[in-house]
């Protein structure tokens, strides 16, 4: 077996002079890239928060000291310094429950989410149980990214399902507005929707009703994500055979009963990979909220570094750091969703 594999490899990689030189070139490039990358990122790198030492390196090695110096501002944005344990705990709670939801999905988790959501909002906002009040405009960094993503997805999914059902409705009075909404929202960039939500929504609101910028941005995010999710769900709905609906009708089930017990469970399962795709892109889309003065992970990095001449030269290291965080979250989500799919696939 081992000999077989070696032979195959040799035949495939070094079968002809052209193949052989290409293989060698790629191996050489990989080695060069790896050694230089390793040298830059680890061997020559500076890990202590020492701006002088970092400047002396002159970018020949990474300056991870910038993370050591600025980590609390990058991770938690403008949250008050002495209260940093609160966003840290909130982040841990959200991540833990997120993992749990995929590993052991059950109905009771809905209540767990409700409790955790309340606890997270209390932790971040304070104003009770001896916690100092912290305005939503000072929330930032990783907890804000998670909060926007999760609340955005949680709000957009039901809306998306309704829009998808509406678009497939036989009644033009329902299907036309739903279709028009989806096409309208998908046709504009998220940034313009956020600007609308942030600067024009206050003018629409009735006198006396005010809403914080976080709430307004969340509405914008939900309206945007719902339009995309609606099309994903519609794809799932179309994949469910027509016979299913007819059989449900023959059993005497009404429209909502048919959708709730027969069509949607199958449609959502079929659409799960595409839904997860949308969720992951929603997480990354939250980075756009910086344009309306909410400083999530990417915005928090700018705030932490742009105005500090000592550390500004080391933006690259900062971006690599938050890229790693995004990657970890998104990769974990996609792995977890794979496990989830396998569980669901079982009869």
């Amino acid at each position: 077996m081992a000999i077989g594999a070696t032979t195959t490899l040799r035949a495939r990689l070094f079968g002809s002079p052209g193949n052989a030189s290409l293989s060698l070139l790629i191996v050489a490039l990989l080695l060069w890239g790896l050694t230089h990358g390793l040298d830059w990122a680890v061997l020559s790198a500076q890990f202590r928060p020492d701006a002088e030492a970092c400047r002396a390196l002159d970018h020949a090695g990474a300056c991870w000291g910038v993370i050591a110096e600025k980590h609390s501002q990058i991770l938690f944005g403008r949250y008050p310094q002495q209260e940093m344990w609160r966003p840290a705990l909130a982040t841990a709670l959200l991540l833990a429950l997120l993992g749990q939801s995929f590993l052991r999905p059950r109905a009771g988790l809905v209540w767990a989410w409700a409790v955790v959501a309340a606890v997270v909002l209390l932790l971040l906002g304070g104003g009770a149980f001896g916690l100092a009040a912290v305005g939503a405009e000072r929330w930032g960094g990783l907890p804000l990214t998670l909060l926007l993503s999760l609340a955005g997805i949680a709000g957009a999914l039901p809306l998306g399902v309704l829009l998808a059902l509406g678009r497939r409705s036989a009644l033009p009075a329902i299907s036309v507005p739903c279709g028009a909404y989806i096409e309208l929202v998908r046709g504009v960039p998220l940034v313009s929707l956020l600007f609308l939500a942030s600067f024009l929504l206050p003018l629409f609101l009735p006198q006396g009703l005010t809403m914080g910028v976080l709430g307004r941005v969340l509405i914008g995010l939900i309206l945007f994500a719902a339009a995309y999710l609606a099309e994903v769900v519609r794809g799932g709905l179309q994949a469910v055979p027509e016979a299913q609906r007819l059989q449900a009708a023959a059993l005497g089930l009404g429209y909502w009963q048919t959708q709730r017990w027969v069509i949607l469970p199958q449609a959502l399962r079929l659409a799960l990979p595409a839904l997860m795709n949308s969720f992951i892109s929603t997480i990354k889309e939250t980075s756009v909220v910086t344009v309306v003065s909410l400083y999530e992970l990417t915005g928090a990095l700018t705030l932490a570094l742009a105005g500090d001449p000592d550390w500004r030269p080391f933006f690259l290291e900062g971006y690599l750091f938050i890229a790693a965080i995004y990657w970890l979250i998104c990769f974990a989500l996609s792995r977890l969703s794979l496990r989830f799919e396998h569980r669901r696939a079982r009869p």
Partner: protein, 339 residues
């Protein structure tokens, strides 16, 4: 909802010229005992948050002075970092009371955006940096030289205007990002590098291995007067912002500092007594109390102290005062009389 979207263009027009709300801002600030201040997302010396999350800089101190004068406490400020695109919209939508964010005062902005510049707190301008070994000491020696510049900025336009006006035939070498243009200059791609003089000074202090090898040319090729901005239609608030800044400048002229402001209350100079509210109540006409200027100076010091702390020799930027000296010392900083 559909009907409301039809109204969108009309509402946009409304947004750009908000209705007059005389005195509203002052009442709102006093009622909530907090000033909403828009600052930059990070510019060393003007507004930047340090590693402990505290805001520092010249623009920041202006906000603190106004909070001290109006609310009585310089720490009662809610900071909103705004980027270049959203800064005016934030002000117009009422999200902030005051924009103190290295914003250049131009005719178009002042006349057509529904806002007012209250004055100038810093005179900036675009300058050139060259390597000392090139033996260039004045901008006119730059004829036919390549100049590294960041694209899409007013910097690029100023450079081409200057080149045409002076018939220098400068060759701009344009880069997308700040880092790339700077790197190109240091690697010898261009004879000179151009951006705002304050940025040049910061670069020289912090991003150059041997600051002695480079020099900033004396000429400034553009005018960039930076100042606080308020919404149009609230004349009381406009006057307060304008006169708090003037009080800080007057304090420097009169030699009142953060340290000696209490002792100065017993001064024999009528101008000092007037400013500090001992002899006359200047605050009344501004709808403030008589200690307004005293509190502002006590909170952040006079204009000169603010400059030294954030941009001068005591700061990482180490920028000479240049045009930002008092008028009596050959600069442009001048306050109309406070009486």
């Amino acid at each position: 909802m559909d009907l409301r979207f039809c109204l969108l263009p009309a509402l946009l027009a409304l947004l750009l010229s908000p209705p007059a709300e005389a005195g509203k801002t002052l009442d709102a600030v006093k009622a909530r005992k907090e000033l909403f201040c828009g600052v930059s997302t990070g510019l060393a010396g003007f507004s930047a948050s340090d590693s402990r999350g505290n805001w520092q800089g010249l623009d920041v101190d202006i906000c603190k002075a106004i909070a001290a004068a109006v609310v009585g406490d310089p720490s009662r400020v809610r900071w909103t970092p705004v980027n270049a695109q959203q800064r005016f919209a934030s002000l117009q939508s009422g999200e902030i009371d005051l924009l103190s964010r290295n914003t250049t005062w131009t005719l178009t902005r002042d006349a057509s955006l529904g806002l007012h510049f209250t004055g100038v707190v810093f005179y900036d301008g675009q300058g050139f940096m060259v390597a000392k070994k090139s033996k260039i000491t004045a901008a006119r020696q730059l004829a036919n030289a390549e100049v590294c510049v960041q694209s899409g900025t007013t910097t690029e336009k100023n450079l081409s205007d200057y080149s045409r006006a002076q018939n220098l035939k400068l060759k701009p070498v344009v880069f997308e990002s700040f880092e790339a243009s700077l790197k190109a200059f240091f690697s010898g791609r261009c004879r000179a590098y151009t951006t705002d003089a304050t940025s040049l000074a910061t670069i020289l202090q912090r991003e150059v291995k041997n600051p002695g090898d480079y020099a900033i040319l004396p000429e400034l090729i553009s005018k960039e007067p930076l100042g606080p901005v308020v919404r149009r239609g609230d004349d009381e608030w406009f006057a307060i912002v304008k006169w708090v800044v003037n009080a800080l400048i007057e304090a420097e002229e009169l030699g009142i500092t953060q340290a000696n402001v209490d002792a100065q209350k017993a001064s024999g100079d009528p101008a000092v007594l007037r400013l500090l509210g001992v002899a006359e109540d200047l605050g009344k006409s501004l709808q403030l109390d008589r200690d307004w200027a005293y509190r502002a100076i006590k909170a952040v010091g006079n204009y000169g102290e603010i400059y030294e702390r954030n941009l001068g020799s005591a700061s990482p930027v180490k920028l000479a005062r240049g045009a930002n000296r008092l008028w009596s010392k050959g600069g442009l900083i001048y306050a109309p009389p406070l009486r």
